[in-house]
């Protein structure tokens, strides 16, 4: 059997680290605990990532790029803005169900431990791929006359705050029904809040 390449090894480290970080939080997760989970020596782990902070930054870049790619696909589809909102809500909840560690990491590590990401991930640098696609979604929605022109962050906060909040409630097992059962009403609420009048 061929030996995994350095890049493949890196991806497998990141996958395991993501699980640990999203479950235990940034500070409870240590480089030895990650190494143990992967079955490699701590010394060898440092050959791939110089520090826990470096690994954490790589993870947020990876997640933002993955979400960015998903939204880009929706942006480039022939759907109208209302349908795109439905598609984005569906995509986000699907990832939250199938790969909960990615959204958990975003909410519980990246947004909750800003001091870790201060250097090298200033402002929105590490989540740029994701934010850029949402900018394009909003810009095109206003340009086509479907959405109301307003400050970007007012719209962004409404959209992502709502989705993040629902995933958080779901993670805390507070929601009485399955996450996907809320998709249609959430998409409608977002559309109604943002549409041109």
């Amino acid at each position: 059997m061929a030996r995994p390449s350095k890049e493949e090894r890196k991806v497998s480290i990141m996958t395991k680290a993501l699980e640990l970080f999203s479950k235990e939080g940034f500070y409870q997760t240590t480089m030895p605990s990650i190494a143990e989970k992967i079955g490699m020596s701590v010394g060898n782990l440092y050959n791939y990532f110089a520090s826990k902070e470096t690994l954490a930054k790589e993870l947020i870049l990876y997640i933002a790029n993955m979400l960015g790619e998903e939204i880009r696909r929706i942006n480039e589809s022939p759907l109208d803005t209302r349908e795109k909102i439905v598609a984005i809500v569906h995509m986000y909840f699907k990832i939250a169900q199938e790969r909960p560690e990615t959204i958990e990491y975003f909410l519980r590590v990246y947004l909750s431990n800003r001091e870790v990401f201060r250097e090298g991930c200033e402002g929105m640098i590490c989540v740029s791929a994701f934010v850029t696609e949402l900018m394009i979604f909003f810009e095109e929605g206003v340009r086509s006359g479907e959405l109301r022109d307003q400050d970007f962050f007012s719209a962004f906060g409404l959209f992502m705050g709502y989705l993040g909040g629902m995933v958080f409630l779901n993670g805390e097992r507070i929601l009485p029904n399955a996450l996907e059962s809320y998709e249609a009403s959430i998409a409608e609420n977002i559309y109604n809040a943002l549409k041109a009048r």
């Binding site: 402002g123 929105m124 740029s128 900018m135 394009i136 206003v142």
Partner: protein, 298 residues
């Protein structure tokens, strides 16, 4: 003894104009030496061989016909309608320059009567003007007004029998291949997305909130300075995009945005890439760019 070579003969014809290009030309610091090499058969202000009436009657041959001002067929000069006068003078000219935005694309005067007023070759960006058929010999010098050195550059090239490379709108590449953004002293602010707080100051970029069109306007205003010292952006005023066929745009001091994103991107930059770069640049706070350059109270 060899005879003195004949002077380069120029006819300067005005269409519907505010005389802005004439006044601009009078500010050319090299006008004196240029006048040693050329002769104006007719110019509305400078000493000329002919009166306007004589020009209209004789329709002389010329090395260069300069047209200042917008075209309207029934507009009269010296008792002749432009519909007849312009093609007649153009046919007897070796070269033609449309000087300024009105002669080039219709400019401000076109706003008064969009259907009947145009440039001499272009109507905005459509080549449907009265001299469209001879567009090969017409050079457009868009600008409101055109910089005097742009005209003397072109005349100098003609005097030296050099070919002037033109862009797709007939403008000399030497002068219009740049954008006004090129050479702007505010590029440091543009790069890091620090916006100007008000007009007339030295600090901040004028693109995001003040309506500056420098990043997508062709022109050398920040390379060949006005009066040798200034440009709009150097003086603290946004570029109006006056060299382009889209001039005049309305709402000159406002940047049209969609959900806070400028509606027009810098020339040749895809929106997605620009937004990613801009987002990264905005993440930094650079103290030296957020302060006054010269503190009056220090």
């Amino acid at each position: 003894m060899p005879s003195k070579p004949a002077k380069f003969q120029i006819v300067w014809l005005q269409g519907i104009t505010c005389n802005g290009n004439t006044h601009s030309f009078l500010n050319d610091p090299l006008l004196g030496s240029l006048l040693d090499k050329v002769r104006f058969l007719y110019h509305p202000i400078l000493p000329s061989q002919m009166s306007l009436r004589e020009l209209v009657v004789k329709i002389p041959k010329s090395d260069l016909l300069i047209v200042e001002g917008a075209y309207r067929g029934d507009f009269e000069r010296g008792g002749a309608v432009m519909e007849k006068l312009l093609p007649a003078l153009a046919a007897r000219a070796k070269n033609i320059v449309a000087l300024g935005s009105c002669a080039s694309f219709g400019g401000i005067f076109k706003e008064a009567s969009p259907e009947s007023i145009s440039g001499i070759v272009y109507d905005k960006s459509e080549a449907t003007g009265p001299l469209a058929a001879m567009r090969e010999k017409v050079i457009n010098l868009g600008g409101c007004p055109a910089h005097p050195e742009w005209l003397s550059f072109v005349i100098g090239m003609m005097l030296n029998k050099r070919k002037v490379a033109l862009d797709e709108l007939g403008r000399p590449k030497e002068l219009y291949a740049y954008t006004v953004h090129n050479g702007c002293l505010r590029n440091d602010y543009f790069e890091w997305k620090v916006d100007s707080r008000s007009f007339g100051t030295k600090e901040g970029c004028l693109y995001y909130e003040q309506g500056c069109q420098g990043p997508f306007t062709h022109g050398s205003c920040n390379k060949i300075l006005w009066n040798g010292v200034a440009s709009k952006t150097r003086a603290g005023t946004p570029c109006f995009g006056c060299t382009e066929p889209t001039f005049p745009k309305t709402d000159l001091f406002r940047t049209k945005t969609y959900m806070s994103i400028p509606s027009e991107m810098p020339l040749g930059v895809p929106k997605r890439s620009y937004l990613a770069l801009a987002g990264a640049a905005k993440s930094f706070h650079i103290k030296r760019l957020e302060e006054r350059l010269i503190d009056d109270h220090a």
